[in-house]
Amino acid sequence: MTIVRENPVEKYLRMERMPSIWCPGCGIGTTVNCFARALDGSGFDLDKVAIVSGIGCTGRVAGYLKLDSFHTTHGRAIPFATGLKLANPELKVVVYSGDGDLSAIGGNHLFHAARRNADLLVVCVNNFTYGMTGGQVTPTTPYPAIASTTPYGAYEETFNLPGVVAAAGATFVARWTAYHVKQLAKTMGEALGKKGFRFIEIIAPCPTLYLRRNRLGEGLEEMKYYQEKSVIKNGADPKDVAIDYREEIIVGKFVDVERPTLEEAMEKRMGEALGAKYVPYKQPGKMSPRA
């Protein structure tokens, strides 16, 4: 029998920064494990993969991955990533952030990046709450869940994130839960290999705030809930996958289409309009050493 002494994902992590800030039972670390496995299986040159996060618990992901990593401002990971990709087209750029960061304060950027088909993989860990600030209501908190700013229960209509980004033009949309580690890693790998605005939502437990405040038990019990209530419906219409409180969670790959990315559309139009006069953007070369 072979004894594996090394965690295969360690080489993708900044181990000198461990332990992470995440609470026991938090789902974010599980998703990072899946992401590292997806990178492991991808065969990509990881020097050419960059990760960008916003602010919040999931916003800390960038800091733990051993990639070129950028921890930006609240809600603005997507425009930072768009600029990074436009200036350095050979990079694969991944945005990794939470539901509050991406869909509330960063909502405008999320929809416009999907519309213009910015060439980004956006991973959204949806734990239905703002964890870092102590468990406030987010655009995804379902009726009538308790949050620190909805002490009598949430009552606003929520964002069905796959529906919203698909409507805005995303070319790849999928959802899994933190229970579906194999499927998630596979979907992440698949999405990494594609172009255009790709969006993966991951339903994940926040035991410290969301689960405790709603008396839903520990992380393990949440895993059982995901196991029992998740229904795989690949190809489901994204507008039909909204999540109600403690009801079934529709998971799977909902959208997988192709259309020109922002960069391709830009290049094509400039070429059409300017012909031989068009001077395409040049990838900045390998750094020239200090003179």
């Binding site: 401002t73 350095n88 001077v279 020239s288």
Partner: protein, 386 residues
């Protein structure tokens, strides 16, 4: 456009407005990424870039708002490009958070604010100089940056290019503070051949991955840079961080980072500060002005000199850092400073603080969306020598 095709530099004599000259200054500096959101009276800068960039290998992206525009350029900087974004009052307010991000992450980039009258939507099409303190203090926390104030389309070209050089030299956001009049006035702009321009390139590290720490200044004040994709696997964060770029919430880490962010400007003030001094020898009164107001003040100064008043001119080219040493020296020799500006008193506060009672400081505030009547400035000069 003889030179334009090869280097992008629009060598020759042109009749340009200040906004368009700013675009050309950026191109001449090697800027090849711009982000923006439309706002009067600054939009012409990105309109020209959107037209010119496809001819010189640059990329312009219009974003959904100024929040996006002011961080997209920083992503592009870390991607290896020289970058610019352009706005006016309301957009400048939205960009404040990302000026702070650029300061703490030491991201070289250029912000342009073509000032209009505020507060809020204010007078969208009319000039003001009401954002001078915002340019210095607008983002939260302690940081230093560099601000330049062109007073003509020619200077809009020259100082935009210079802004890029300073951004690279000190790894700070540099703000070009135009105003509506300089932005929209059209004058002759002479653009030298590319080889005659001084362009500061990014200072890349010579260290290897593993040895390099992105925020270690190696005993100096400004760390060398790398870009994403070259194998360094850097981490860049808006959190307080150590030399590796890793978050560190301790007192020594915060203090060390803060002091270097401040010192890299303060200890280089003499190299950074730029001003234009005229007729200071024997002057009893010195008019301190900047931007379009310095052009109006010229008329008042000429009239006063004709009346025999010994008046000199000190024009701020960098508003920040402020030329403290020069103003302090002058304050020992003159009776008064006269400070006209298109606001209710901003840079005059700095003049007064540095003069520290050694001479009078006379503000000449003006609001309303027009420039001063020179006779108002003249009256204050006369008052100063009485």
């Amino acid at each position: 456009m003889s030179n334009a095709e090869s280097t992008g530099v629009l060598t020759g004599s042109h009749y340009l407005d200040g906004d368009h000259a700013c675009s050309e200054g950026a191109i001449a500096a090697g800027c090849r990424f711009a982000s923006g959101y439309p706002i009067t009276p600054s939009t012409e800068v990105v309109e020209r870039l959107s037209q010119r960039f496809p001819h010189v290998g640059g990329r312009f992206q219009q974003f959904e708002d100024e929040l996006a525009a002011s961080i997209a350029l920083q992503g592009a900087t870390w991607g290896g490009a020289k970058t610019i974004t352009v706005t006016s009052g309301p957009g400048f307010s939205l960009m404040m958070e990302h000026i702070g991000l650029a300061a703490i992450t030491e991201t070289p980039c250029v912000f342009v604010n073509v000032q209009r009258a505020g507060p809020s939507t204010g007078l969208p099409t009319q000039p003001a100089q009401g954002d001078m303190m915002q340019a210095r203090f607008g983002s939260h926390g302690d940081y230093r940056l560099i601000t330049v104030c062109p007073n003509s389309p020619q200077e809009s070209f020259d100082l935009t290019l210079e802004a890029f050089n300073l951004a690279e030299e000190y790894r700070v956001p540099v703000i070009v503070m135009l105003d509506e009049v300089v932005g929209h006035m059209t004058e002759k702009v002479v653009i030298p051949p590319a080889e005659k321009l001084k362009v500061t390139e990014r200072r890349w590290t010579t260290k290897k991955p593993g040895e390099y720490k992105p925020f270690d200044a190696n005993g100096g004040l400004v760390p060398d840079m790398v870009k994403a994709g070259d194998g360094y696997r850097i981490h860049v964060t808006g959190l307080t961080h150590d030399e590796r770029g890793y978050p560190n919430m301790t007192v020594p880490a915060h203090e060390k980072m803060q002091m270097r962010l401040t010192d890299k400007i303060l200890k280089n003030v003499d190299k950074i500060v730029r001003f234009d001094a005229q007729d200071l020898d024997g002057a009893e009164v010195v008019v301190v002005s900047y931007g379009i107001t310095s052009r109006i003040a010229q008329k008042a100064i000429a009239d006063a000199r004709q009346q025999g008043i010994r008046v000199g001119s000190f024009r701020l080219i960098t508003a920040w850092p402020f030329p403290e040493k020069q103003i302090a020296e002058l304050s020992k020799k003159v009776k008064a400073f006269v400070v006209p500006e298109l606001n209710l008193g901003q840079m005059v506060l700095e003049v007064e603080r540095i003069a520290n009672g050694r001479c009078r400081t006379i503000p000449v505030p003006h609001v309303g969306g027009t420039v001063h009547d020179p006779s108002v400035i003249l009256k204050k000069i006369q008052e100063a020598v009485r």
